[in-house]
């Protein structure tokens, strides 16, 4: 069962120009809000991600990154606002959204007693692939994430880097047009981080990708745009280059934006923090 949008490439150059409303963006988040009791974890977050874009979703721990991504993946129900993936609404058509979306949950959870091949085979069957096609999909996902060497090993015996790659393979299995990954390089060594970034870069032209991270050089390395949130609100939505102020490192910019009240440095791009 493939998403109808999977093989539609709206622009020959692989990207959709900003403001081209004829083709809606693959990921649209509109005034998304999540409250847990009196605590507002995500507050009125809006942004869109077009094909060809890699959005780095940044923010301190507890800022609402994971909650936003969980809502996008249909795991958490929004309190207000909505999100659309490939034009499908997350609350009205959750199954259609999940078909179009590859999602790597935080910590890349997998079933520890299953083998890598068994686990990916399970994901393929749930996604509706049978027989030879399922085998091809699993083989392709394992090739992309370099898992062939451990295909028959139980996941619990693998190292952290391999476990993360199993999670990635699961998210890529159906070649989704939209990818949402919660901290894809967390806990990996520098070589593995490099490989994952290369993988993301290679997929970028034909997909809309959102990755959350708190490693700032990752944003400079792979992202075409950075969305920074603090206390549930978007404080900046800009290109990584535009973020870097003269004489300041990304680290300093990040601290200034997320710590101080009214820390938004670029008023034309930012929704200013409530004092």
């Amino acid at each position: 069962m493939q998403c109808p949008h999977a093989n539609v490439n709206p622009a020959p150059d692989g990207g959709v120009t900003q403001g081209d409303r004829a083709v809606p963006a693959l990921i649209e988040i509109e005034r998304l809000t999540k409250r847990f009791g009196s605590f507002t974890a995500v507050d009125d977050v809006s942004f869109t991600v077009d094909r060809g874009e890699v959005v780095g979703f940044l923010g301190p721990n507890g800022a609402g990154k994971s909650t936003t991504m969980k809502m996008l993946a249909g795991f958490v129900t929004p309190s207000a606002g909505t999100a659309r993936v490939c034009g499908h609404d997350v609350t009205d058509e959750p199954v259609a959204v999940k078909r179009c979306l590859g999602y790597l949950p935080e910590g890349a959870p997998t079933y520890p007693e299953m083998t890598v091949a068994g686990f990916l085979g399970f994901v393929a069957r749930v996604r509706g692939y049978r027989g030879g096609e399922a085998r091809d999909r699993v083989a392709r996902a394992m090739r992309l994430t370099a898992l062939e060497g451990v295909r028959l090993q139980p996941i619990e015996t693998l190292s952290k880097g391999f476990k993360r790659r199993v999670g990635l393979a699961q998210a890529l299995l159906h070649d989704p047009p939209a990818l949402v990954m919660d901290e894809p390089t967390d806990g990996l060594d520098p070589n593995q981080k490099h490989e994952v970034r290369e993988l993301i870069r290679s997929m970028a032209p034909e997909k809309a990708i959102v990755i959350s991270t708190h490693i700032l050089e990752e944003v400079a390395a792979v992202c075409t745009r950075a969305v920074i949130i603090a206390r549930g609100r978007v404080v900046v939505d800009a290109t990584p280059r535009a973020l870097e102020a003269p004489g300041m490192t990304l680290d300093e910019v990040f601290r200034e934006l997320t710590l101080g009240p009214g820390g938004a440095r670029e008023p034309e791009l930012a929704a200013t923090e409530a004092a």
Binding site: M1, F75, K98, P105, E113, M114, R125, G128
Partner: protein, 243 residues
């Protein structure tokens, strides 16, 4: 349906990938055999049937079935895989049904492995195999009822011990509701409730199957009992999935 079966298949393979399945089956076979031949007085009754076995199965299941269901959702919650499972393109009821079917198939396997008892009774005498077959069918329905209760309660917590204790307690209520102790107590004090309690008793419904009677109302009872608890399961998963 394909996705439901994929979930069921994964779950069932999961039982056999860990010692859970083997421990469960061995304990079930040892206990059911021992009780049949000692407490049940299999030989002393001098009758070729499996009544001594069927008498105790609902009470054995009372403790063993919650041991299967306690991990069903609590484990997914603890490992965080619930997020993976529920962000795959399946409806929640498919995940709930798949897990339930896997646990039910597992109980069926455990029950089928008591076949030496059936062989024994056929060697020693000339039993009514129709009655034995309906008895086994009844056992399976009792297991399904307990499984549905246990699975729903497992969805409420990430702690397997809590899931187990709650499931045993709730299953006990439905098992004991038809016992003479409860019905006599109720008929003396609140006569209206005595009949209700008997109607909701899993063991009382099972007694018919044990005698070889398949009554439509008993089938409807088990079907609606299981459906109700599976629905509760889906609600619990939906409500508490992200906690």
């Amino acid at each position: 349906m394909g996705a439901t079966l994929a979930v069921a298949r994964r779950e069932l393979t999961g039982y056999f990938a860990t010692p859970v399945a083997y421990v469960f089956i061995v304990i079930f076979l040892v206990l059911s055999g021992a009780i049949t031949f000692t407490l049940g007085g299999f030989f002393a009754r001098n009758q070729a049937d499996l009544q001594p076995f069927f008498n105790f199965v609902p009470w054995l299941f009372l403790f063993l079935v919650p041991a299967i269901t306690m991990r069903l959702w609590a484990e997914e919650r603890r490992l965080g895989t619930i997020e993976l499972l529920l962000t795959l393109p399946i409806a929640q009821w498919q995940a709930v049904l798949g897990k339930f079917l896997a646990a039910w198939a597992f109980c069926a396997i455990a029950l089928a492995l008591t076949f030496p008892l059936w062989i024994t009774v056929n060697v020693l005498g000339d039993p009514d195999n129709g009655v034995i077959l309906t008895g086994y069918g009844g056992c399976l329905l009792v297991a399904g009822a307990y499984l549905a209760v246990g699975a729903a309660l497992s969805a409420l917590t990430k702690n397997q011990v809590i899931a187990f204790v709650l499931a045993v307690a709730v299953c006990f209520v439905f098992a004991a509701a038809g016992s003479p102790v409860v019905t006599e107590f109720l008929s003396q004090r609140i006569p209206a409730l005595a009949e209700v309690a008997r109607q909701f008793s899993v063991t009382e419904r099972f007694a018919g199957f044990q005698r070889g009677v398949i009554a439509l109302r008993d089938l409807v009872f088990f079907a609606s009992f299981i459906a109700f608890w599976l629905f509760a399961n889906a609600v619990a998963v939906d409500h508490r999935k992200a906690d």
